[in-house]
Amino acid sequence: MAAADELTFHEFEEATNLLTETPDAATTSRSDQPTSQGHVAVAVGSGDSYGAEDEVEEESDKAALLQKQQQQPGFWTFNYYQSFFDVDTSQVLDRIKGSLLPRPGHNFVRHYLRNRPDLYGPFWICATLAFVLAVTGNLTLVLAQRRDPSIHYSPQFHKVTVAGISIYCYAWLVPLALWGFLRWRKGVRERVGPYTFLETVCVYGYSLFVFIPMVVLWLIPVPWLQWLFGALALGLSAAGLVFTLWPVVREDTRLVAAVLLSTVVLLHALLAMGCKLYFFQSLPPEHVTPPHQAASLPTNIPLSPTLPRSMAPS
């Protein structure tokens, strides 16, 4: 039974401690409040629907009050977008560290974002990853040519475009689909509030950070080492995503939860594999690329970059 004092605002440390003590407690969040004052109302209940109705009424009252207090600027004003870049250097570094070391109890959204998702991290991490992919892909070709002068070297600038489009599509369309799906399931369950769209984008964006050192380490031309680094980075990144999504998904049926989490991990793995195969092809020694035979690349690269058949002569 939810007591009255348990419905007051708590600090985050208390909330995460409570969560670890009672792992089957239900939590609701005010994460979809646009005011982003950093307050979270944590209602710890025993899981029965009797207390839930009271909580929902209380929360809607609080929501109305908060909305009257703070007018959100319209989406056509500059200030609206400025609120998404309201981060300091130390906060961004902190969030990056949090994505590199996922821990089972610490939800990335609750622990690091704390109702203040930013767009700086996802945007610039994706840009960095796209350029690093193109640069290191080109560098592997240079190194391969040094070992074997018959390989034709070319700057391959088109790979920048391909990398950019595929990374940005992945980092923005997949969170959109995930958010849409979670909101649809929320309508079915009415219990746990999902994350806002920006928080999902943030989670995905920061989880892509671990791929940057992985791509740089892929310069080492030892194949088993490359696969090892790839598996490590994929494990870290996917673990971060799963630990973040688990509190939201565990309220749902087991089938939906399992399918959702495995789809998320699979898409992430496909991205890593696609990067490896497209940008870091292992060239056999007797390869000479005749430039005129390169057919046009497939232009639709939304989520799973497949190995283009035109690169087959490599």
């Binding site: 300091d88 610039w124 350029f131 080109n138 070319s154 700057p155 600038f157 690329t289 430039p291």
Partner: protein
Amino acid sequence: MAEAEESPGDPGTASPRPLFAGLSDITISQDIPVEGEITIPIRSRIREFDSSTLNESVHNTIMRDLKAVGKKFMHVLYPRKSNTLLRDWDLWGPLILCVTLALMLQRDPADSEKDGGPHFAEVFVIVWFGAVTITLNSKLLGGNISFFQSLCVLGYCILPLTVAMLICRLVLLAGPGPVNFMVRLFVVIVMFAWSIVASTAFLADSQPPNRRALAVYPVFLFYFVISWMILTFTPQ
């Protein structure tokens, strides 16, 4: 507050006169006429100057703009903390530099569609949209620099990299080889560092100190991409 004197004008008192003691006696009457003409005597001269630029020769007009561009080039090559780039911004310099760089980076027309270096349009787009993105990022983070001032600074600071491109093309005329590559690598790295230092000298002050690194990192990425394009340029 100054103390009121008990006996004004008493020569024998030992106490000093407080400041502004006589002001309390002044009253401003309502009917003092305050009127007249306020003219700036220099205005007629300025008007003459404005109309005279229409009559000046084309040579004068072009040289004035070229001198402004050249002065800013000097400020980039020897970066000091000065406001010239910010105060009198112009976009001629960035346009000249971008077009020069794109022309020199253009891929060989005999080269294939897929595998060569960047097209002219690609370099142009990267430079200008990169500069716009960095400016937007800086403004969204709360910097107090105007849009065009930031574009001007970022464009002018491509000058060291354009010089590096010229040197690379000259060095490549000597034929390929590892020494050739090391020389080009060294030149590009030095000019890359020069660009970063120059642009940071102008841009870093416009950000609050706890976000300076967040605003400078995209500049670093921007010049890194341009340096990579210069370094991987192969003329065949």
